[in-house]
């Protein structure tokens, strides 16, 4: 097993399709099944592979999810740096992602709720009230076109000739 290159290859295969079984990953990566098994086990244990997830188009299901991107300005106090405040905010189930960003704001959150009211209350009661948060800007998401590298719209696949030299 050519360590680094093969590990990256295995990760790329798993990232694109977590449903692939060991046998197929071995076949596609050119490694043995044992190698893939121990490699993946190590990647999972070391936290490189965090979780296996599906990208779901909830709009198509008809599920009434409301997403909002919320940008926060943070006043750092003596006790807590960005990491501490980010980890506190990340602990809410409503928060789907949280990032430290450059520009006018410091943290950017993606929040999911079942209604605009849900999300608005969450921001007003749980986020804006935090001591270090001194400004919030909430953008409600109207439509998601691409999520995690996956397009959520259908595009006609260009046709190739069936036979060509």
């Amino acid at each position: 097993m050519n360590e680094i290159r093969d590990i990256r290859d295995i990760l790329e295969i798993v990232e694109n399709d977590p449903k692939k079984d060991m046998q197929e990953i071995a076949l596609l990566s050119g490694c043995s099944e044992e190698e893939v098994y121990s490699c993946i086990k190590e990647l999972e244990e070391s936290g490189i592979i965090r979780k296996y997830k599906a990208v779901i188009d909830w709009d198509k299901v008809g599920e009434e999810y409301i997403y909002a991107i919320i940008e926060l300005k943070i006043n750092l106090d003596d006790r807590a740096g960005y990491d501490n405040i980010a980890k506190r905010i990340a602990s809410f189930n409503e928060v789907r992602s949280i990032r430290l960003i450059s520009g006018d704001h410091d943290l950017s959150l993606t929040v999911r709720g079942h209604s605009m009211k849900d999300v608005a209350f969450f921001v007003a009661e749980k986020i804006a009230t935090l001591d270090q948060v001194h400004n919030t800007m909430t953008h409600f998401v109207l439509k998601t076109y691409k999520e995690d590298g996956v397009a959520l719209f259908d595009m006609e696949k260009p046709k190739r000739l069936v036979i060509s030299p």
Binding site: E24, L27, L28, S29, R160, V162, I163, S164, P165
Partner: protein, 385 residues
Amino acid sequence: MKEIKTYISNRVKQTPPSGIRKFFDMVIGMEDVISLGVGEPDFVTPWHIREACIYSLEKGHTTYTSNSGLIELREAISDSFHTDYGVDYDPHDQILVTTGVSEAADLALRAVIDPGDEVIIHEPSYVSYKPCIIIPGGKPVIATTTRENEFRVTKEQIEEKVTEKTKAIILSYPNNPTGAVMRKQDLEDVADVVIENDLLVISDEVYDKLTYDSKHTCFSSLNGMDEHTILLNGLSKSHAMTGMRIGYAMGPSEIINAMLLIHQYTMLCAPITSQIGAIEALNNGGPDVNAMVREYNRRRRLFVKGLNDLGLDCFEPKGAFYAFPSITSTGMTSDQFAEELLTQQKVAVVPGDVFGSSGEGFLRCSYASGLDELKIALERMGEFL
């Protein structure tokens, strides 16, 4: 009035028709066909390249370009060969941008062939070399490569075919249809024959980026070979840009000039939109190429194992995106196998003999299709067998 066909030139009448025509006609109207018969990537041209083309149209770049191609493109080509292979071509008089590698091959052959000249081709090989030798009055001389030698052409096979009329050898590696590659040592052996007999090499390396085991060796990078080589390449396969039709020829300025002479009267220039896309591809398309190669490699492993598991003996192809399994164990001819597979299981492949009579007993299967499609194709082939 005379019969219409009597107007057609004898040279064209002598040109063999393409063997894939029949399959082309057969698949018309057929539904649910899984095609392994395609000589082009299934990827769409990366978006940033398409976008560069769109911007150029918005800005109104719809003119002719210099006959040789946009100088920015020739510079980008020159830089990429310097970086990739350490070979240097002057963008001003040693590079000609063509409408695909097909045009470049035609120009190279027409620029060097006088009637009666012999050109050695290794077969199985791409379908257009032979006709492009015949049309200007040359004589194709076939060196047959074998499965036993993984379809690499040897020094001895070439030496055997050299006569005083031999003008050039066409090398085509990584190879369509076999997926074969030449190791550096194999190419150095060919270079010896070239020096001994003072020959010209037309090296079509359009699949150079698609190798899976070792890095490709550019023929003109070999000691003393730059003066003997017309190097052909293009962006069709590496950057999934087949329909954009961008190829190029590089070589000694006298030969490039001779090719330019024909090109300026017949093609004038390659389409400017595509040339602009090609500049973007060469300058910023490296990561796309690498990602596609990684994906082809996965498909290659799955597909070649699948064929061998079905009992179709397939050597490991180390370049391009073709597998070339033997079907002799079935007792069928290539043509018969391909036709019955298509009508019974709706899987399209190309019979090996289309690429020269030595391809009889083999099939060309392109694995430039998604993994799921390849799996279904293998299942259907299993049913068929």
